[in-house]
Structure formats: C-alpha cells, structure tokens
Symmetry: C2
Subunit: 265 residues, 2 copies
C-alpha cells in the first residue's frame, strides 16, 4: 500500500526534492523522471523507480499499474498532495507523477560496441538540454548510446532527462576522460568521426564505417585540435549562411541521420 505523506518536512520529500542537485544525485545514486509519459517509457524498457510519488485522486490507469508494479518489485510508493508534489518538482504545474531511479554505472566497460553500428560521443557539452536532445535523437536513429567525455553536463539532471523524452532509459550512457576513451576505442573496431572546418571532405560524400563513433565538440569551443587529430575521419557540413557553426544537438542529428542514410543507400 502507498504511504500517505502530507508534510513538507517529510524526509522522503526532502530527499527527492534534493535530486534536482547534482551533488545529491551523486550521493544518493538516484535521478528523477517526471510525468507519466517518461515513466511509462522506462517501464517499457523494464526500468521501475525505487520511489514513485503521485498526487491523490484521478490516477491514470497506466499510472496505477506502474505504481503497483513498483511496489511489487520492492519499491516505495508515496501518495501526497499536489502542493507537496509541486514543491518536489520545483514547478507550479507539476507532473502528477515522479519517479526516483537508480543511476546505472557509467564506466566504458558497460558499452558493447557490437550491439549497434552508431554511437554518439560528446566532448564537454555543457547544456543538459542538448544532452537530453541528443539522447532522444540517438534513440530515433538507432544509436546504441552516448559516451560523455571530459566535463560534460550531467545526463541525469532533470532537464536532460526531460529533453530525452525517455531515451535516458533506452540509450546506454558512459562517461570517461579523453585518454581513457581513446584506449578503450582503440582496443576494438570503430571509426572515430569528427566534424571540422579544417577539412574539405563533405559529410555527404564521406564513407562511414561500423561501428561509427560520432564525436561532437563543446558548444562554444568545438573540438580541440588534439581531438581532431585522433579522428579517423574529419568531415565538413558546408554552411550556406553567415554563421560557421550549428547548435551542437543539431550538428549531432544532421551527422547521425546522414551516417544512417549512407548505410541505407
């Protein structure tokens, strides 16, 4: 049976609210997903929350089903007021369902590169919305997952999880320093592909090999030269306008769809 919580000062309320902060996420090893759509997506990927919180009254049948499944799996179900849910989610119009999920380990050893022809690799991406959007794009294009290099934003932040639209549960996620990643990459098959202004190779005519690792650089600085130098292939997306760059999530998508298109052709 769900526990009833009616106090703002309840320990579970405080613990879940704290998951908006990276430090608390790291300490607890948990992250938040909000809303029935993403939580149902997680369940379809056989992931249930450790704690699920919902507002009293008018529960969607699918929500009720996931709450029951969470309890059956030993998780904690908490029924509370819209006010308290609002405090937990930090929004005026909160989603009526919150789940706190265990963060998977993010070491490279978890990545099975043979499980997919395409992998996204992000170097020091700082915008969690971009990271979530790239997860969502990765799911759409059939990528296996996301490897975060150096000082990237947290893929388990609320904003990244929201932008992923559930792909945080379907895409593998790993984090590593550049040197560590290179060692791992060169220990098996894999073409490292970067976008660059310093090449004449058009992204439309390049030959992409499987597994392909698409390397996307930081939003402001792009890829460091030393990283470009390690790429097996550098390609250019020709720009028709005044600007010389794309939004990082857009560049990742244009490249990923072109790589896939080249294999479908």
């Amino acid at each position: 049976m769900p526990r009833q919580v009616t106090s703002f000062s309840n320990e579970t309320v405080k613990r879940i609210r704290a998951l908006r902060d990276k430090k608390a996420r790291r300490e607890q090893g948990l992250f938040l997903a909000e809303g029935l759509r993403i939580i149902a997506e997680a369940r379809d990927s056989r992931r249930l929350p450790e704690t699920i919180v919902f507002a009293s009254g008018g529960l969607h049948p699918l929500a009720a089903e996931i709450i029951a499944a969470t309890e059956a799996a030993g998780g904690d179900a908490i029924e509370t007021t819209p006010d308290i849910l609002s405090k937990m989610s930090g929004k005026d119009n909160p989603q009526m369902l919150l789940g706190a999920y265990r963060q998977p380990a993010t070491d490279l050893a978890r990545i099975d590169r043979t499980s997919s022809p395409l992998w996204m690799v992000l170097q020091s991406l700082r915008d969690p919305g971009n990271i979530g959007t790239i997860l969502r794009t990765g799911d759409a294009v059939g990528a296996g997952g996301l490897i975060l290099l150096d000082d990237s934003a947290d893929p388990y932040s609320v904003e990244a999880v929201r932008a992923s639209m559930g792909a945080i549960f379907t895409q593998a996620v790993a984090a590593a320093r550049w040197d560590e990643f290179l060692l791992w990459l060169r220990s098996g098959p894999g073409q490292l592909v970067g976008t660059s202004l310093k090449t004449d190779t058009d992204y439309l005519s390049a030959r992409y090999e499987q597994p392909c690792f698409l390397l996307i650089g930081n939003e402001q600085a792009g890829l460091p030269s030393a990283y470009e130098a390690e790429c097996d292939l550098l390609v250019k997306i020709p720009m028709a306008g005044r600007a010389d760059s794309l939004n990082a999530a857009i560049a990742a998508a244009v490249m990923a769809f072109q790589v896939r298109a080249s294999w479908r052709g």
Copy 2:
C-alpha cells in the same frame, strides 16, 4: 557621447529591462540582443540598435566601434555599472553589452519567396529555444527565413534571440494565421512539405521542388490532419528506436539538410 546611468530607477533602465516581457516588446516595438557576438552579427547585417548599453571599463574595440556607429546613426548609447546591467539582463553574469533593436514588420508581404529555395514554416511552436535554434539552422542551410503560424512563441524573446546566435538578423521572419498563409502560398510557386507518420514516402527518396516550404508541427501535437491534407508532399523520417518523434528543431534540421542535399546531389 554615451550617457552615464547610475540609478536602478532610471527610466531607460526600466524600459529595457521590461523588454524581457512580450507585452512590453509589443508596446515598444523593440527587442533585446545580448553580447558582443550577436550584436556584431547584427551590425554585419547592417542592423544597429536604437539603444546600446554597456558597462564601464575594458571595452572591446569592436564594441566601441559599434557604440560609435550607433550614436552616429542617431541611436542612444548608455554607459552604466555592471550591477545595473545585471539587473537589465536578469542574469548574475550578464553580457557586458545589450542592444535594443526595432522589430521589423512580420506580414507575409515582406517575404520574397524567389529570394531563396527553402523556407521554414512552424505551426504553433511553443519553445522559444526551438524557434531560435531553427533560425540558426535556417541561416546555416541557406533558407530565406521563417514563417510562424498560429500561436507560436515570440521569435523576439530573449531566449529565441540568444538561441538564434544572430540569425534573427539574417533570416526574414513573418507571422500569419494558417488560412492567411495558405492564400499567400497558393498565390505563387511553392511546394509545401510536411513530415508525417501517415505516409510511406521516405524523406531520403522524395523529390523536393523550389521554393520548398518545410512545415514543422507543434512540439506535443505535431501537425493537425487538416494541415497535412494541404501539403503537396508528406514524407516520413523512419524511426529506428522506441520513440515515434524527434525534437521539433531536430526534425526541422534533418529535413532542411536533406532537402538541400537532394539539390546538391
């Protein structure tokens, strides 16, 4: 000579700060751009602000040049403290340069469809970040501009301008109701292309004609059926993963780059 402003209650400070709200933008007919990069981009597109505000000390030579040009063109230059600039920009780490620009008229009559082979058309997009990102993508891919249908977010909001990375100054922008847009569209050449799940036509094999009008639907609901029915071409971007949709700005970019690729081939 720049005016010195040292009071938070100064009328100009209040008026510029108010430009974060859509109502004030409409009343004043102005919008804000922040930071040297975007303001220099505007100048390169022969657009100067009516009012330019900067913090005392350590001015970049390019900023000084644009401030002088603004004054020479009859605009207002205001030198103030970092504190007041911070209040105007609503951020703790404000850009050291703000410009208030006149909003161009947004009637369809301003759009010269023969000036570009590609136009972006957004139906009720609600996220200003998406609108700014699509402007930036449009610039990169050589689109002529953006037509906003129905209840779209304001392309002149601070968030949209920021995400556009200056493309708000290089892309034409129009706004219209659907009926009005259709009348205008059918009064000249133009292929209206929508993305849909209800077609078998792959976006990679479709034939795109010039000028091509790419229609992107609302983030949540996608395109209404009645709008799809008016399209000259419906295409599908096949999804490999669990999800059946892409982020709106991603879908716009994947389509725009493919349309352009089909013409380059």
